[in-house]
Protein backbone atom coordinates (compact mmCIF):
# COMPACT_ATOMS: atom_id res chain seq x y z
CA UNK A 1 0.00 0.00 0.00
CA UNK A 2 1.37 3.36 -0.98
CA UNK A 3 1.49 6.26 1.45
CA UNK A 4 -0.84 9.16 0.72
CA UNK A 5 1.41 12.19 0.39
CA UNK A 6 0.55 15.19 -1.75
CA UNK A 7 3.99 16.69 -1.23
CA UNK A 8 5.21 14.03 -3.68
CA UNK A 9 4.13 16.56 -6.30
CA UNK A 10 7.38 18.42 -5.63
CA UNK A 11 9.31 15.36 -6.79
CA UNK A 12 7.31 15.22 -9.99
CA UNK A 13 7.43 18.95 -10.68
CA UNK A 14 10.63 19.08 -12.81
CA UNK A 15 9.32 16.32 -15.05
CA UNK A 16 5.97 18.04 -15.31
CA UNK A 17 7.50 21.39 -16.27
CA UNK A 18 9.89 19.97 -18.87
CA UNK A 19 7.34 17.72 -20.53
CA UNK A 20 4.64 20.40 -20.41
CA UNK A 21 6.97 22.89 -22.10
CA UNK A 22 7.59 20.38 -24.86
CA UNK A 23 4.10 18.96 -25.12
CA UNK A 24 1.51 21.61 -24.23
CA UNK A 25 2.89 24.64 -26.07
CA UNK A 26 3.38 22.82 -29.42
CA UNK A 27 0.07 21.02 -28.95
CA UNK A 28 -1.73 24.34 -28.42
CA UNK A 29 0.01 25.71 -31.53
CA UNK A 30 -1.36 22.78 -33.48
CA UNK A 31 -4.86 23.28 -32.08
CA UNK A 32 -4.60 26.95 -32.96
CA UNK A 33 -3.62 26.26 -36.57
CA UNK A 34 -6.26 23.59 -36.98
CA UNK A 35 -9.12 26.10 -36.78
CA UNK A 36 -7.56 28.80 -38.95
CA UNK A 37 -6.67 29.49 -42.55
CA UNK A 38 -3.44 31.29 -43.43
CA UNK A 39 -2.25 32.95 -46.62
CA UNK A 40 1.24 33.66 -45.36
CA UNK A 41 2.50 36.96 -43.88
CA UNK A 42 1.07 35.89 -40.53
CA UNK A 43 -2.47 36.60 -41.70
CA UNK A 44 -4.89 34.18 -40.12
CA UNK A 45 -8.63 33.72 -40.63
CA UNK A 46 -11.06 31.78 -38.49
CA UNK A 47 -11.97 28.52 -40.15
CA UNK A 48 -13.88 26.71 -37.38
CA UNK A 49 -14.11 22.97 -37.82
CA UNK A 50 -13.90 23.24 -41.61
CA UNK A 51 -10.53 21.52 -41.89
CA UNK A 52 -11.72 18.59 -39.82
CA UNK A 53 -14.83 18.09 -41.94
CA UNK A 54 -12.85 18.38 -45.15
CA UNK A 55 -10.24 15.93 -43.88
CA UNK A 56 -12.67 13.30 -42.68
CA UNK A 57 -14.26 13.28 -46.15
CA UNK A 58 -10.98 13.37 -48.07
CA UNK A 59 -10.05 10.29 -50.07
CA UNK A 60 -6.37 11.08 -49.72
CA UNK A 61 -6.61 10.89 -45.91
CA UNK A 62 -8.65 7.67 -46.03
CA UNK A 63 -6.11 6.10 -48.36
CA UNK A 64 -3.15 7.09 -46.18
CA UNK A 65 -4.95 5.90 -43.05
CA UNK A 66 -5.80 2.61 -44.75
CA UNK A 67 -2.18 2.07 -45.77
CA UNK A 68 -1.09 2.93 -42.24
CA UNK A 69 -3.40 0.37 -40.63
CA UNK A 70 -2.36 -2.22 -43.20
CA UNK A 71 1.33 -1.61 -42.49
CA UNK A 72 0.91 -1.71 -38.71
CA UNK A 73 -1.33 -4.79 -38.93
CA UNK A 74 1.08 -6.73 -41.11
CA UNK A 75 4.19 -5.95 -39.10
CA UNK A 76 2.45 -6.84 -35.81
CA UNK A 77 1.20 -10.11 -37.32
CA UNK A 78 4.74 -11.02 -38.34
CA UNK A 79 6.87 -9.58 -35.55
CA UNK A 80 4.94 -10.82 -32.52
CA UNK A 81 4.74 -14.57 -33.39
CA UNK A 82 8.23 -14.53 -34.90
CA UNK A 83 9.65 -12.77 -31.85
CA UNK A 84 8.06 -15.30 -29.48
CA UNK A 85 9.32 -18.21 -31.61
CA UNK A 86 12.88 -16.89 -31.59
CA UNK A 87 12.79 -16.19 -27.85
CA UNK A 88 11.57 -19.75 -27.19
CA UNK A 89 14.45 -21.29 -29.11
CA UNK A 90 17.20 -19.09 -27.69
CA UNK A 91 19.78 -20.60 -25.32
CA UNK A 92 19.06 -20.06 -21.60
CA UNK A 93 22.61 -19.81 -20.32
CA UNK A 94 26.19 -19.90 -21.42
CA UNK A 95 28.50 -18.00 -23.69
CA UNK A 96 26.00 -17.52 -26.51
CA UNK A 97 23.38 -15.65 -24.46
CA UNK A 98 25.14 -12.24 -24.39
CA UNK A 99 26.29 -12.71 -27.99
CA UNK A 100 22.68 -13.28 -29.12
CA UNK A 101 21.31 -10.41 -27.05
CA UNK A 102 23.90 -7.87 -28.18
CA UNK A 103 23.60 -8.78 -31.87
CA UNK A 104 19.84 -8.71 -31.71
CA UNK A 105 19.74 -5.31 -30.03
CA UNK A 106 22.08 -3.81 -32.62
CA UNK A 107 19.52 -2.89 -35.33
CA UNK A 108 17.52 -0.87 -32.80
CA UNK A 109 20.48 1.42 -32.10
CA UNK A 110 21.07 2.46 -35.68
CA UNK A 111 19.72 5.93 -36.52
CA UNK A 112 16.47 5.58 -38.43
CA UNK A 113 17.61 7.29 -41.59
CA UNK A 114 20.73 5.12 -41.64
CA UNK A 115 18.39 2.11 -41.48
CA UNK A 116 16.60 3.50 -44.52
CA UNK A 117 19.85 4.24 -46.35
CA UNK A 118 21.26 0.83 -45.44
CA UNK A 119 18.23 -0.96 -46.87
CA UNK A 120 18.39 1.23 -49.93
CA UNK A 121 21.99 0.16 -50.56
CA UNK A 122 21.05 -3.44 -49.74
CA UNK A 123 18.19 -3.58 -52.25
CA UNK A 124 19.58 -1.61 -55.23
CA UNK A 125 18.78 -3.81 -58.24
CA UNK A 126 22.27 -4.25 -59.67
CA UNK A 127 24.52 -3.15 -56.81
CA UNK A 128 22.78 -4.29 -53.63
CA UNK A 129 23.19 -7.77 -52.20
CA UNK A 130 19.45 -8.49 -52.02
CA UNK A 131 18.62 -6.70 -55.27
CA UNK A 132 21.34 -8.56 -57.16
CA UNK A 133 20.33 -11.89 -55.65
CA UNK A 134 16.67 -11.41 -56.56
CA UNK A 135 17.24 -10.13 -60.09
CA UNK A 136 20.23 -12.14 -61.23
CA UNK A 137 20.26 -15.33 -59.17
CA UNK A 138 16.56 -15.97 -58.71
CA UNK A 139 15.50 -14.15 -61.86
CA UNK A 140 12.64 -12.35 -60.09
CA UNK A 141 12.08 -8.86 -61.39
CA UNK A 142 12.67 -6.81 -58.24
CA UNK A 143 12.88 -3.04 -58.28
CA UNK A 144 11.12 -1.15 -55.54
CA UNK A 145 11.29 2.19 -57.34
CA UNK A 146 9.05 0.72 -60.06
CA UNK A 147 6.92 -1.92 -58.44
CA UNK A 148 4.57 -1.00 -55.55
CA UNK A 149 4.37 -4.60 -54.36
CA UNK A 150 8.16 -4.84 -54.14
CA UNK A 151 8.22 -1.52 -52.26
CA UNK A 152 5.66 -2.83 -49.74
CA UNK A 153 7.52 -6.09 -49.21
CA UNK A 154 10.74 -4.14 -48.71
CA UNK A 155 9.41 -1.73 -46.08
CA UNK A 156 7.81 -4.63 -44.21
CA UNK A 157 10.96 -6.76 -44.29
CA UNK A 158 12.91 -3.70 -43.18
CA UNK A 159 10.62 -3.15 -40.20
CA UNK A 160 10.78 -6.84 -39.29
CA UNK A 161 14.57 -6.57 -39.47
CA UNK A 162 14.58 -3.42 -37.39
CA UNK A 163 12.12 -4.22 -34.61
CA UNK A 164 11.47 -7.96 -34.19
CA UNK A 165 14.33 -7.95 -31.67
CA UNK A 166 12.24 -5.80 -29.35
CA UNK A 167 9.64 -8.57 -29.11
CA UNK A 168 12.41 -11.18 -28.80
CA UNK A 169 14.17 -9.38 -25.94
CA UNK A 170 10.94 -8.70 -24.06
CA UNK A 171 9.70 -12.28 -24.47
CA UNK A 172 13.09 -13.64 -23.50
CA UNK A 173 13.03 -11.59 -20.30
CA UNK A 174 9.56 -12.94 -19.57
CA UNK A 175 10.63 -16.56 -20.21
CA UNK A 176 13.71 -16.21 -18.00
CA UNK A 177 11.49 -15.23 -15.07
CA UNK A 178 9.67 -18.61 -15.10
CA UNK A 179 11.00 -20.77 -12.24
CA UNK A 180 12.42 -24.20 -13.18
CA UNK A 181 9.91 -25.83 -10.82
CA UNK A 182 7.09 -25.04 -13.27
CA UNK A 183 8.80 -27.00 -16.03
CA UNK A 184 9.57 -29.90 -13.68
CA UNK A 185 5.93 -30.05 -12.65
CA UNK A 186 4.89 -30.06 -16.31
CA UNK A 187 7.32 -32.88 -17.00
CA UNK A 188 5.92 -34.99 -14.17
CA UNK A 189 2.40 -34.40 -15.51
CA UNK A 190 3.59 -35.45 -18.96
CA UNK A 191 2.56 -32.17 -20.57
CA UNK A 192 3.12 -31.78 -24.32
CA UNK A 193 5.35 -28.94 -25.55
CA UNK A 194 2.22 -27.15 -26.75
CA UNK A 195 0.53 -27.28 -23.34
CA UNK A 196 3.77 -26.11 -21.70
CA UNK A 197 3.67 -23.13 -24.02
CA UNK A 198 -0.07 -22.52 -23.70
CA UNK A 199 -0.45 -22.91 -19.92
CA UNK A 200 2.98 -22.02 -18.50
CA UNK A 201 4.89 -19.78 -20.87
CA UNK A 202 2.17 -17.73 -22.53
CA UNK A 203 0.51 -16.55 -19.28
CA UNK A 204 3.93 -15.46 -17.99
CA UNK A 205 4.52 -13.58 -21.21
CA UNK A 206 1.32 -11.57 -20.97
CA UNK A 207 2.79 -8.48 -19.27
CA UNK A 208 5.84 -8.24 -21.50
CA UNK A 209 3.80 -8.91 -24.62
CA UNK A 210 1.42 -6.12 -23.67
CA UNK A 211 4.39 -3.75 -23.46
CA UNK A 212 5.83 -5.11 -26.71
CA UNK A 213 2.61 -4.80 -28.69
CA UNK A 214 1.91 -1.33 -27.30
CA UNK A 215 5.39 -0.07 -28.15
CA UNK A 216 5.33 -1.67 -31.58
CA UNK A 217 1.87 -0.27 -32.29
CA UNK A 218 2.80 3.28 -31.29
CA UNK A 219 6.13 3.30 -33.09
CA UNK A 220 4.94 1.62 -36.29
CA UNK A 221 1.89 3.86 -36.42
CA UNK A 222 4.16 6.91 -36.16
CA UNK A 223 6.84 5.60 -38.50
CA UNK A 224 8.30 8.23 -40.78
CA UNK A 225 12.04 8.29 -41.39
CA UNK A 226 12.78 4.73 -42.52
CA UNK A 227 10.14 4.39 -45.27
CA UNK A 228 10.70 8.02 -46.26
CA UNK A 229 14.41 7.46 -46.86
CA UNK A 230 13.84 4.07 -48.49
CA UNK A 231 10.94 4.74 -50.85
CA UNK A 232 10.04 8.42 -50.39
CA UNK A 233 6.42 7.25 -50.22
CA UNK A 234 6.54 5.88 -53.76
CA UNK A 235 6.26 4.56 -56.31
CA UNK A 236 3.36 6.96 -56.78
CA UNK A 237 1.64 7.13 -53.41
CA UNK A 238 1.78 3.42 -52.74
CA UNK A 239 3.90 3.60 -49.57
CA UNK A 240 2.83 7.06 -48.39
CA UNK A 241 2.04 6.25 -44.78
CA UNK A 242 0.23 8.69 -42.50
CA UNK A 243 3.31 10.52 -41.20
CA UNK A 244 4.82 10.87 -44.65
CA UNK A 245 1.58 12.37 -45.94
CA UNK A 246 1.40 14.70 -42.94
CA UNK A 247 4.91 16.04 -43.49
CA UNK A 248 4.15 16.49 -47.20
CA UNK A 249 1.13 18.63 -46.35
CA UNK A 250 2.74 20.56 -43.49
CA UNK A 251 6.25 21.24 -44.76
CA UNK A 252 5.94 20.51 -48.48
CA UNK A 253 2.75 22.39 -49.32
CA UNK A 254 2.80 24.51 -46.13
CA UNK A 255 -0.94 23.97 -45.64
CA UNK A 256 -0.79 24.56 -41.90
CA UNK A 257 -4.52 24.35 -41.20
CA UNK A 258 -5.22 20.97 -42.83
CA UNK A 259 -1.92 19.59 -41.52
CA UNK A 260 -2.79 20.63 -37.97
CA UNK A 261 -6.28 19.13 -38.19
CA UNK A 262 -4.72 15.94 -39.52
CA UNK A 263 -2.17 15.90 -36.67
CA UNK A 264 -4.93 16.06 -34.09
CA UNK A 265 -7.00 13.29 -35.66
CA UNK A 266 -3.84 11.21 -36.08
CA UNK A 267 -2.87 11.64 -32.43
CA UNK A 268 -6.43 10.89 -31.32
CA UNK A 269 -6.47 7.60 -33.28
CA UNK A 270 -3.12 6.53 -31.78
CA UNK A 271 -4.34 7.37 -28.29
CA UNK A 272 -7.67 5.62 -28.76
CA UNK A 273 -6.22 2.38 -30.11
CA UNK A 274 -3.49 2.28 -27.43
CA UNK A 275 -6.03 2.92 -24.69
CA UNK A 276 -8.47 0.29 -25.99
CA UNK A 277 -5.72 -2.29 -26.27
CA UNK A 278 -4.29 -1.50 -22.84
CA UNK A 279 -7.73 -1.64 -21.20
CA UNK A 280 -8.54 -4.97 -22.85
CA UNK A 281 -5.20 -6.51 -21.91
CA UNK A 282 -5.27 -5.42 -18.27
CA UNK A 283 -9.00 -5.97 -17.70
CA UNK A 284 -8.46 -9.32 -15.94
CA UNK A 285 -5.73 -7.99 -13.66
CA UNK A 286 -7.97 -5.27 -12.29
CA UNK A 287 -10.56 -7.74 -11.02
Amino acid sequence: MKTQNNRAWFLVLPVLLLVAFNALIPMMTVVNYSVQETFGDNLFFWEGLGWFEQLLRSDRFHAALGRQFMFTGIILAIEVPLGIAIALSMPRKGFWVPVCLVTMALPMLIPWNVVGAMWNIFTLPDIGLLGYFMNHTLGIDYDMTQNPFAAWVTIIVMDVWHWTSLVVLLSYAGLMSIPDAYYQAAKIDGASPWSVFRFIQLPKLKTVLTIAILLRFMDSFNIYTEPFVLTGGGPGNSTTLLSIDLVKIALGQFDLGPAAAMSLIYFAITLLVSWLFYTLMTKDDAK
Binding site: L11, L16, I86, M104, L109, V114, M176, T270
Partner: protein, 265 residues
Protein backbone atom coordinates in the same frame (compact mmCIF):
# COMPACT_ATOMS: atom_id res chain seq x y z
CA UNK B 1 24.38 -28.20 -31.07
CA UNK B 2 20.65 -28.53 -30.60
CA UNK B 3 18.22 -28.58 -33.48
CA UNK B 4 16.22 -25.64 -32.22
CA UNK B 5 19.19 -23.26 -32.21
CA UNK B 6 18.79 -23.09 -35.98
CA UNK B 7 16.05 -20.44 -35.54
CA UNK B 8 18.17 -17.84 -33.67
CA UNK B 9 21.12 -18.56 -35.98
CA UNK B 10 19.04 -17.88 -39.09
CA UNK B 11 17.60 -14.77 -37.47
CA UNK B 12 21.03 -13.41 -36.58
CA UNK B 13 22.27 -14.05 -40.13
CA UNK B 14 19.24 -12.14 -41.40
CA UNK B 15 20.08 -9.27 -39.02
CA UNK B 16 23.72 -9.16 -40.02
CA UNK B 17 23.34 -9.31 -43.81
CA UNK B 18 22.32 -5.66 -44.43
CA UNK B 19 24.89 -4.51 -41.86
CA UNK B 20 27.58 -6.56 -43.60
CA UNK B 21 26.62 -5.02 -46.92
CA UNK B 22 26.87 -1.49 -45.50
CA UNK B 23 30.31 -2.18 -44.01
CA UNK B 24 31.54 -3.91 -47.18
CA UNK B 25 30.32 -0.98 -49.27
CA UNK B 26 32.20 1.49 -47.09
CA UNK B 27 35.53 -0.16 -47.98
CA UNK B 28 34.91 -0.12 -51.73
CA UNK B 29 35.99 2.57 -54.14
CA UNK B 30 33.25 4.51 -55.93
CA UNK B 31 34.47 3.03 -59.21
CA UNK B 32 34.07 -0.49 -57.93
CA UNK B 33 30.59 0.17 -56.54
CA UNK B 34 29.34 1.57 -59.83
CA UNK B 35 31.08 -0.95 -62.06
CA UNK B 36 29.01 -3.85 -60.84
CA UNK B 37 28.34 -6.44 -58.19
CA UNK B 38 31.06 -7.87 -55.94
CA UNK B 39 30.47 -9.80 -52.75
CA UNK B 40 33.70 -8.61 -51.11
CA UNK B 41 35.61 -5.39 -51.72
CA UNK B 42 38.13 -6.14 -54.50
CA UNK B 43 40.47 -3.29 -53.65
CA UNK B 44 40.16 -2.27 -50.00
CA UNK B 45 40.20 1.45 -49.49
CA UNK B 46 40.05 3.68 -46.44
CA UNK B 47 39.44 6.73 -48.60
CA UNK B 48 35.79 7.07 -47.50
CA UNK B 49 36.76 7.09 -43.84
CA UNK B 50 39.62 9.49 -44.52
CA UNK B 51 37.15 11.99 -46.00
CA UNK B 52 34.92 11.75 -42.94
CA UNK B 53 37.72 12.18 -40.43
CA UNK B 54 39.30 15.14 -42.22
CA UNK B 55 36.24 17.10 -43.30
CA UNK B 56 34.84 19.21 -40.41
CA UNK B 57 31.25 19.15 -41.71
CA UNK B 58 31.39 15.36 -41.36
CA UNK B 59 33.13 14.86 -38.07
CA UNK B 60 31.33 17.76 -36.42
CA UNK B 61 28.12 15.92 -37.26
CA UNK B 62 29.25 13.13 -34.97
CA UNK B 63 30.34 15.49 -32.21
CA UNK B 64 27.00 17.33 -32.41
CA UNK B 65 24.99 14.14 -32.22
CA UNK B 66 26.97 12.81 -29.28
CA UNK B 67 26.71 16.15 -27.48
CA UNK B 68 22.94 16.51 -27.62
CA UNK B 69 22.37 12.82 -26.93
CA UNK B 70 24.55 13.03 -23.80
CA UNK B 71 22.88 16.21 -22.56
CA UNK B 72 19.47 14.66 -23.12
CA UNK B 73 20.39 11.44 -21.32
CA UNK B 74 21.70 13.33 -18.29
CA UNK B 75 18.66 15.64 -18.05
CA UNK B 76 16.15 12.84 -18.59
CA UNK B 77 17.60 10.51 -15.97
CA UNK B 78 18.17 13.23 -13.36
CA UNK B 79 14.62 14.61 -13.47
CA UNK B 80 13.05 11.18 -13.91
CA UNK B 81 14.66 9.72 -10.77
CA UNK B 82 12.71 11.70 -8.13
CA UNK B 83 9.52 11.54 -10.21
CA UNK B 84 9.74 7.76 -10.54
CA UNK B 85 10.32 7.54 -6.78
CA UNK B 86 7.19 9.59 -6.16
CA UNK B 87 5.11 7.36 -8.47
CA UNK B 88 6.45 4.15 -6.96
CA UNK B 89 6.20 5.09 -3.27
CA UNK B 90 3.40 7.62 -2.79
CA UNK B 91 -0.12 8.12 -3.93
CA UNK B 92 -0.97 11.75 -4.49
CA UNK B 93 -3.72 13.81 -6.05
CA UNK B 94 -3.94 13.04 -9.77
CA UNK B 95 -1.03 10.59 -9.81
CA UNK B 96 -2.62 8.09 -12.18
CA UNK B 97 -3.77 10.76 -14.61
CA UNK B 98 -0.35 12.36 -14.59
CA UNK B 99 1.36 9.05 -15.25
CA UNK B 100 -0.96 8.30 -18.14
CA UNK B 101 -0.54 11.80 -19.56
CA UNK B 102 3.23 11.39 -19.46
CA UNK B 103 2.95 8.15 -21.40
CA UNK B 104 0.71 9.69 -24.05
CA UNK B 105 3.64 11.86 -25.07
CA UNK B 106 5.41 8.69 -26.08
CA UNK B 107 2.57 8.15 -28.56
CA UNK B 108 2.67 11.54 -30.24
CA UNK B 109 4.04 11.27 -33.77
CA UNK B 110 7.18 13.39 -34.10
CA UNK B 111 5.83 14.59 -37.43
CA UNK B 112 2.98 16.31 -35.55
CA UNK B 113 5.39 18.36 -33.48
CA UNK B 114 8.02 19.20 -36.08
CA UNK B 115 6.71 22.62 -37.12
CA UNK B 116 5.50 23.87 -33.70
CA UNK B 117 8.83 22.81 -32.22
CA UNK B 118 10.67 24.84 -34.80
CA UNK B 119 8.58 27.91 -33.93
CA UNK B 120 8.81 27.37 -30.17
CA UNK B 121 12.57 26.98 -30.08
CA UNK B 122 13.07 29.85 -32.51
CA UNK B 123 10.91 32.03 -30.26
CA UNK B 124 12.97 31.28 -27.14
CA UNK B 125 16.20 31.78 -29.08
CA UNK B 126 17.50 28.23 -28.80
CA UNK B 127 17.22 27.29 -32.46
CA UNK B 128 20.30 25.48 -33.78
CA UNK B 129 21.76 24.70 -30.36
CA UNK B 130 22.51 21.33 -28.81
CA UNK B 131 20.39 22.14 -25.82
CA UNK B 132 17.32 22.65 -28.05
CA UNK B 133 17.53 19.13 -29.46
CA UNK B 134 18.32 17.72 -26.01
CA UNK B 135 15.24 19.43 -24.52
CA UNK B 136 13.00 18.44 -27.43
CA UNK B 137 13.97 14.79 -27.06
CA UNK B 138 12.91 15.00 -23.40
CA UNK B 139 9.35 14.89 -24.75
CA UNK B 140 9.55 11.14 -25.30
CA UNK B 141 12.59 10.21 -23.22
CA UNK B 142 11.47 11.52 -19.82
CA UNK B 143 8.19 9.54 -19.85
CA UNK B 144 10.12 6.45 -20.87
CA UNK B 145 12.76 6.97 -18.18
CA UNK B 146 10.06 7.50 -15.53
CA UNK B 147 8.31 4.33 -16.68
CA UNK B 148 11.48 2.21 -16.59
CA UNK B 149 12.74 3.57 -13.27
CA UNK B 150 9.33 3.15 -11.67
CA UNK B 151 9.41 -0.51 -12.71
CA UNK B 152 12.82 -1.07 -11.15
CA UNK B 153 11.96 0.90 -7.99
CA UNK B 154 8.82 -1.16 -7.51
CA UNK B 155 11.09 -4.17 -6.99
CA UNK B 156 12.87 -2.55 -4.03
CA UNK B 157 11.11 -3.31 -0.71
CA UNK B 158 9.75 -0.29 1.15
CA UNK B 159 11.47 -1.52 4.31
CA UNK B 160 14.71 -0.13 2.86
CA UNK B 161 13.30 3.41 2.95
CA UNK B 162 11.79 3.01 6.40
CA UNK B 163 14.98 1.59 7.93
CA UNK B 164 16.99 4.47 6.50
CA UNK B 165 14.60 7.07 7.95
CA UNK B 166 14.73 5.34 11.36
CA UNK B 167 18.52 5.50 11.12
CA UNK B 168 18.20 9.28 10.76
CA UNK B 169 18.81 9.75 7.07
CA UNK B 170 17.18 12.79 5.51
CA UNK B 171 15.31 12.18 2.25
CA UNK B 172 17.92 13.67 -0.12
CA UNK B 173 20.78 11.90 1.64
CA UNK B 174 18.92 8.58 1.66
CA UNK B 175 18.00 8.99 -1.99
CA UNK B 176 21.51 9.72 -3.21
CA UNK B 177 23.57 7.56 -0.84
CA UNK B 178 21.37 4.49 -0.49
CA UNK B 179 18.53 4.38 -2.96
CA UNK B 180 20.21 5.28 -6.26
CA UNK B 181 23.05 2.76 -5.75
CA UNK B 182 20.40 0.09 -5.01
CA UNK B 183 18.70 0.59 -8.37
CA UNK B 184 21.84 1.34 -10.37
CA UNK B 185 20.91 -1.37 -12.89
CA UNK B 186 17.66 0.49 -13.51
CA UNK B 187 19.51 3.79 -13.89
CA UNK B 188 21.82 2.15 -16.43
CA UNK B 189 18.90 0.73 -18.38
CA UNK B 190 17.02 4.05 -18.33
CA UNK B 191 20.13 5.88 -19.55
CA UNK B 192 20.57 3.26 -22.25
CA UNK B 193 17.03 3.79 -23.53
CA UNK B 194 17.35 7.58 -23.46
CA UNK B 195 20.60 7.29 -25.38
CA UNK B 196 19.01 4.92 -27.84
CA UNK B 197 15.92 6.95 -28.68
CA UNK B 198 17.78 10.25 -28.80
CA UNK B 199 20.50 8.76 -31.00
CA UNK B 200 18.14 7.21 -33.54
CA UNK B 201 15.65 10.09 -33.79
CA UNK B 202 16.22 12.39 -36.72
CA UNK B 203 13.08 14.31 -37.65
CA UNK B 204 13.09 16.66 -34.64
CA UNK B 205 16.87 16.88 -34.51
CA UNK B 206 16.94 17.93 -38.15
CA UNK B 207 14.08 20.40 -37.75
CA UNK B 208 15.72 22.14 -34.79
CA UNK B 209 19.19 22.57 -36.26
CA UNK B 210 20.72 24.33 -39.24
CA UNK B 211 24.50 24.46 -39.08
CA UNK B 212 25.99 24.69 -35.60
CA UNK B 213 24.30 21.66 -34.05
CA UNK B 214 23.51 19.61 -37.14
CA UNK B 215 23.38 15.86 -36.37
CA UNK B 216 25.42 13.36 -38.35
CA UNK B 217 22.32 11.71 -39.72
CA UNK B 218 21.22 15.00 -41.29
CA UNK B 219 24.68 15.56 -42.77
CA UNK B 220 24.28 12.19 -44.44
CA UNK B 221 20.92 13.07 -45.99
CA UNK B 222 22.31 16.30 -47.36
CA UNK B 223 25.44 14.69 -48.77
CA UNK B 224 23.44 11.95 -50.42
CA UNK B 225 21.48 14.51 -52.39
CA UNK B 226 24.01 17.27 -53.03
CA UNK B 227 27.23 15.42 -53.85
CA UNK B 228 25.62 12.99 -56.24
CA UNK B 229 25.57 9.33 -55.55
CA UNK B 230 28.54 8.85 -53.25
CA UNK B 231 27.47 5.49 -51.91
CA UNK B 232 30.84 4.58 -50.43
CA UNK B 233 30.98 7.75 -48.37
CA UNK B 234 27.37 7.30 -47.27
CA UNK B 235 28.11 3.71 -46.26
CA UNK B 236 31.18 4.74 -44.28
CA UNK B 237 29.20 7.41 -42.42
CA UNK B 238 26.44 4.89 -41.74
CA UNK B 239 28.92 2.34 -40.45
CA UNK B 240 30.33 4.91 -38.03
CA UNK B 241 26.85 5.65 -36.64
CA UNK B 242 26.51 2.00 -35.60
CA UNK B 243 29.60 2.09 -33.39
CA UNK B 244 28.34 4.27 -30.48
CA UNK B 245 25.24 2.08 -30.23
CA UNK B 246 27.33 -1.08 -30.18
CA UNK B 247 29.55 0.34 -27.40
CA UNK B 248 26.54 1.31 -25.30
CA UNK B 249 24.92 -2.12 -25.72
CA UNK B 250 28.14 -3.77 -24.60
CA UNK B 251 28.00 -1.88 -21.30
CA UNK B 252 24.43 -2.91 -20.48
CA UNK B 253 24.67 -6.45 -21.92
CA UNK B 254 23.94 -8.13 -18.58
CA UNK B 255 20.77 -6.14 -18.00
CA UNK B 256 19.58 -5.97 -21.57
CA UNK B 257 16.80 -8.59 -21.39
CA UNK B 258 15.41 -7.31 -18.11
CA UNK B 259 15.91 -3.75 -19.28
CA UNK B 260 13.81 -4.22 -22.37
CA UNK B 261 11.05 -5.56 -20.15
CA UNK B 262 11.33 -2.16 -18.39
CA UNK B 263 12.07 -3.90 -15.10
CA UNK B 264 8.61 -5.47 -15.12
CA UNK B 265 9.23 -9.20 -15.03
Amino acid sequence: MQKRSIVPILYIIFLLLPIYWLVAMSFKTTGEILSGFSLFPQTWTLENYRVIFTDPTWYWGYINSILYVSINTVISVIVALPAAYAFSRYSFLGDKHLFFWLLTNRMAPAAVFALPFFQLYSAVGLFDTHIAVALAHCLFNIPLAVWILEGFMGGVPKELDETAYVDGYSFPRFFVVIFIPTIKAGVGVAAFFCFMFSWVELLLAKTLTAVAAKPIAATMTKTASSAGYELGLLAAAGTLTIIPGAIVIYFVRNYIAKGFALGRV
